[in-house]
């Protein structure tokens, strides 16, 4: 038993039948566990999502008067018609995702949750929000409708002129 000499360094040289089967069993369990993790991860990741399209049809540009900020509550974006042209901002606060609101009397965008404030072009004025509100890609469709892609951020100050 204990005084039996072990041949160190040579793995397998002194491998008993029971140890072999213990290792085989543990190895099989390890492989099965890894397989279960992979299986579970694949199953839990949905292959099809029934979520709203990121692309929004915001309607005719004429419906947005000059110097207006229009919040689309359902899609969480602002359509802004400024002197330089049209652009779209995300209305989702960069702090923790609350929906911001346009304050026409103050001329700012404000978040009701934690008091972040943004300028009309999305630039941060104050508050816990770490980043300005991102600009979203805007273009005109063949029918002349304003289109917004909520999934694509663009650099600020890229206006669409109609």
């Amino acid at each position: 038993m204990a005084d039996e000499k072990q041949t160190d360094g040579e793995f397998g040289a002194d491998l008993h039948r029971r140890e072999f089967f213990v290792k085989l069993g543990l190895g099989s369990l390890g492989i099965a566990a890894a397989g279960t993790v992979a299986f579970g991860y694949q199953f839990l990741s949905p292959n099809v999502l029934y979520e709203a399209s990121p692309i929004i049809n915001a309607g005719k540009p004429e419906s947005y008067p000059l110097d207006s900020v229009t919040l689309d509550v359902n899609s969480g974006i602002y359509i802004i018609h400024s002197k330089e042209g049209f652009f779209s901002l995300s209305a989702v606060c960069t702090h923790l995702g609350c929906l911001t609101a346009w304050k026409p009397d103050l001329g700012i965008i404000a978040c009701p949750c934690h008091g972040s404030k943004f300028k009309q072009d999305g630039e941060k004025i104050e508050g816990p929000a770490p980043r300005p509100l991102p600009w979203k890609r805007v273009w005109l469709s063949d029918d002349g409708d304003l289109m917004v892609d909520r999934s694509t951020d663009i650099r600020p100050m890229e206006f669409v002129r109609v």
Binding site: F43, L44, N47, V48
Partner: protein
């Protein structure tokens, strides 16, 4: 074995292991008995069993196999619940999504379905085995009753699960099945109304069957399975014909007479 470190023994001697399993690591009879007795789950079972009780011929392992299918059904059922909405517009579409869109969804759905069939079969096989061996007799009459309850719970689980795919087969099967319930004298129509949550199989019925299938009946099954296992211990272990005291006494008497 002493020539190499035993991983299990090292693990079992670790402080974490000892904080969870307090019965100790020895291989003595006492330690082995304590390991069963001091475990909240294993406590349901006997600390000692006769070898004969564990032989294949005694039970054909039918009860254990039934429990195995139940565990498979719980595991696969919980996973299926992650993609299934029990609502009229979505139930059928979700079922089809599970078959054709979700990774391994078809495998899990089929495993759930086949295990359900297997469980019904095994429950009946277990019951026949117990019946023909006479294992239902005293002192095990009450465990037989628990077994009948478990049979009914199994059949109800099967029946309620039948509606959930929300296809034609499901709809008409439950329509027919719930009309059978209305054949109960005097309160049949009331039972039918309460079971479906309305006069026809519709949104309320789907939700009720979902709650029954995923919550109420599985909890009932777990509860009665626990009692069923515990009663095995309380009734003197599994029925192993040769080791029953009455049988042994009869054998001893016969041997004495032969002498």
């Amino acid at each position: 074995m002493a020539s190499s470190p035993n991983y299990f023994d090292q693990l079992r001697k670790s402080r974490v292991w000892r904080s969870i399993f307090r019965s100790g690591t020895g291989a003595s009879t006492v330690h082995r008995a304590l390991a069963i007795q001091q475990n909240v789950f294993l406590n349901l079972f006997s600390t000692k069993v006769r070898r004969r009780m564990l032989s294949f011929s005694a039970t054909w392992y039918l009860g254990t196999l039934t429990f195995g299918t139940f565990l498979i059904l719980v595991a696969t059922g919980v996973l299926l619940m992650l993609y299934y909405h029990p609502s009229v517009p979505q139930a059928y579409a979700d079922t089809k999504d599970l078959q054709f869109v979700v990774s391994s969804g078809l495998f899990l759905r089929n495993l759930h379905r086949w295990s359900a069939h297997a469980m019904v079969f095994l429950v009946f096989a277990h019951m026949f085995k117990v019946f023909y061996r006479g294992a239902y007799r005293a002192p095990r009459e009450f465990n037989w009753v628990i077994g009948i309850i478990l049979l009914l719970v199994t059949l109800l689980l099967s029946y309620t699960g039948y509606l959930l795919p929300w296809d034609q087969l499901a709809y008409w099967a439950i329509t027919v099945g719930s009309n059978i319930a209305s054949a109960v004298p005097l309160m049949g129509n009331k039972i039918h109304f309460l079971l479906l949550g309305g006069n026809a199989v519709n949104a309320n019925a789907l939700l009720r069957f979902y709650v029954l299938h995923c919550m109420i009946l599985p909890l009932a099954a777990i509860f009665f399975i626990a009692v069923h296992f515990w009663r095995i211990r309380k009734d003197g272990g599994l029925y192993a014909h040769q080791s029953e005291p009455a049988t042994l006494r009869a054998q001893a008497a016969a041997a004495k007479e032969a002498r």
